[in-house]
């Protein structure tokens, strides 16, 4: 009898943990709103990357934009880059990635984005924050006038998004809102 009681309590507690882990689901309409917010951040990132990569951008301006771009990311976020020829991933801190982009030796850099993206479901992680991944495709073209070198590639970018419910005080009232931060980005050169 005692054993049965322990088993019952064990099963009850185990199911409670799973229920807790799966509770507080985000409704479809809320998810759509969060997706839009996350896409806005990704759009901002794409604009910043184009500015940082352009040779026409002054050094001081590029640095200012790098600061703005860095603010989109959660602390410690990294870029993991691999090419067609090598599966090996090179890891860069976000700031370092931008600095490398700025230092590219092309007179003209053109970064464009494909009109397609994919947004994953949001999954809850142990600390209660939600995590998702947005996949986008980017075309890079760099031209060097002096050497006549013209480099092109198409990359798939899988961008982590962290979604968190936060509170703020406005006119003495507590307002809850969902905040989105970008996280690690996996950059894969595609064969397209």
């Amino acid at each position: 009898m005692k054993n049965k009681l322990i088993l019952f309590l064990g099963l009850f507690l185990a199911s409670s943990v799973v229920a807790l882990a799966q509770s507080e689901d985000i409704s479809p309409s809320r998810k759509q709103a969060i997706d839009s917010l996350a896409l806005e951040k990704v759009k901002d990132l794409s604009k910043y990357i184009a500015i940082i990569g352009s040779k026409e951008t002054q050094f001081s301006e590029a640095n200012r934009v790098m600061d703005r771009a860095e603010e989109l990311f959660a602390p410690g976020a990294e870029m993991g880059v691999s090419s067609i020829n090598s599966n090996e991933i090179a890891y860069y801190k976000v700031r370092r990635y931008f600095e490398r982009l700025m230092a590219l030796n092309y007179d003209r850099v053109n970064i464009t984005w494909y009109d397609i993206q994919y947004i994953s479901d949001l999954e809850r992680q142990p600390d209660g924050r939600y995590v998702g991944v947005i996949t986008i495709f980017q075309r890079f073209e760099g031209t060097s006038i002096e050497t006549g070198m013209n480099y092109k590639d198409t990359t798939k970018k899988d961008i982590t998004i962290y979604v968190e419910k936060k509170q703020t005080q406005i006119a003495g009232r507590t307002i809850e809102f969902w905040d989105v931060m970008l996280g690690d980005v996996r950059v894969t050169e595609t064969s397209a």
Binding site: K43, E88, Y114, D121, R124, G128
Partner: protein, 279 residues
Amino acid sequence: MRFTLITLAILLANISIVSAQGIGSGGTIKDDGRFAASTKQLNQFFRRFNAEESPDGNTRFYPGDSLYHNRPLRQGFIQILFDNQTSSVSKDLKTQFINTVLSDGYPQYLNFHRTGWFSEVQAEFIFKGKREKVTLILKLQPEGLGYEWVIDAVSFPPFKNLFNKPVGDEKDFLHPLSHELGFMNLRRAFQDSKMPEAFTGNAFHPDYLTLFLYEMKQNNLRFSTVNEVKFHFFQIEGWYFEVSQFNRPGFNTGWLISNLVKLNPGDKETIQQYIYDQK
């Protein structure tokens, strides 16, 4: 019903020419359909397998939506979820699998949070100054308020022949009256023998993950990079399949079924043992 079928068939056939809403209005390149067709995330593999999204991937279907788990939509999706260029899965086996999954009386779905699937990660580490390949097995588990991926096992070649327990005449032993001498002959096991594992019980099996973590804590092992990721699924009763990523030109790309096996009794354990590679 017929109209729905025809509509879905047209949608799936045209998955390649469906254009998604743009990320930015100006300066974007129109996808010729290849990226739309690609199974871009494993999340999309789940959604397509279960028919939980529209053919272009832009609309998520939830329970109650008319096309949620829709059979004809699933059929179309599952057919494009196979690697149709390099894998040797026969047409007949594919058909049997699809019929099982789509069975009218007992349709089966994949579930992200349920056990019965795990990941195999090929990585590189620097071990005592030398680059070595490592296979990590990761699984999803509930933790705190959500879920996390955890390392379930590791297969590491330098550990492979570390514990080759000798057998028969080759095997040294502590004789059965060693206790009468206060086990003074343990000296033979721990000091004289180069194979102390010879003195362990029949049930002894090295825990490679513990060893691996120990070496890391001793600063003998340093992570270098991840080379490849695969997923193994046992969630469909009587079947095993492997999902790999295909980065190549064309429309049959992304996360696709690269291997499919119809399981006989005992096969599941054999395949799992083979993947975990702990012997």
